[in-house]
């Protein structure tokens, strides 16, 4: 049976810690291991931090919606914002091999999300960015 949790996140970085606490409290009793909870929490953080920093101009900042559904062997994470169109799937990865002097200081967040999640899909629907992340859950305790 699928389990679902829904969040409305204000445009405030302090919301991310609350989201992590609530998602962890939801996921741990479902038998999802610490490593996958960490990876989903980090992915939520990276995507939502980007939205808070870049998606909106100063004036209006509607809340960000997060829906997470856990099935037998997969977590599906949907993140919806009404900011300017941004497709993270198209962003090139950083040069991970560069010597430290030449390593750019940004661009790592989406690389971490793509590394930790199994699939990432973007759609622009009705003036909203819909990002769907999928994470395989190997075995439930």
């Amino acid at each position: 049976m699928n389990q679902t949790i829904h969040f409305e996140i204000a445009n405030d970085l302090a919301e991310i810690e609350r989201l992590h606490e609530e998602f962890s409290a939801f996921a741990a009793p479902l038998g999802i291991g610490d490593k996958i909870i960490f990876q989903i929490n980090l992915s939520l953080d990276e995507i939502i931090t980007n939205i808070i920093h870049y998606a909106y101009s100063d004036a209006e900042k509607p809340p960000i919606t997060v829906n997470i559904t856990v099935s037998v062997n997969e977590a599906t994470i949907e993140i919806i914002d009404f900011g300017r169109p941004f497709n993270p799937v198209d962003v090139d990865p950083p040069d991970l091999e560069a010597p430290v002097e030449q390593r750019p200081v940004g661009g790592l967040g989406l690389h971490l999300v793509k590394s930790m999640m199994d699939a990432i899909d973007y759609r622009r629907i009705d003036n909203a960015n819909h990002l769907i992340l999928n994470k395989h859950i190997p075995e439930r305790k």
Binding site: L13, A14, I16, E17, H20, D34, K35, F38, N41, L42, D45, E46, T49, I52, H53, P94, L96, E97, V100, E101, R103, V105, G106, L108, G109, H111, L112, S115, M116
Partner: protein
Amino acid sequence: MNLSTTFHEDIVEIILNGRLDAASSPAVQDALNEQIDAGHTKIVLDFSKMDYISSSGLRVLLMAVKALKAKDGRMLIYGANEHVQEVFNLAGFLPYFPMYAQQREALDALKKE
């Protein structure tokens, strides 16, 4: 995130307690800059009480290690949990930040310089 600083001769140790994310990274950046600007070139970071890091945290650490490198300085980390180590690994940061399990090993590695 709570930060505290201790000194071992010419080595500065910064103890990070909590989460290193977008909300806390400005304070960590200030703490690192304060030591680098004061002329310290050997920095050890205690990660044993740090349970979480995001790319915002990686960013301030990378800026600090670049500033240190320009002064022939070094920064080492000890006590990182497995989740934090995985983030460093996926980011390609392990070559920039030598990781040690224990404080003694990290301090010994810097004293050899």
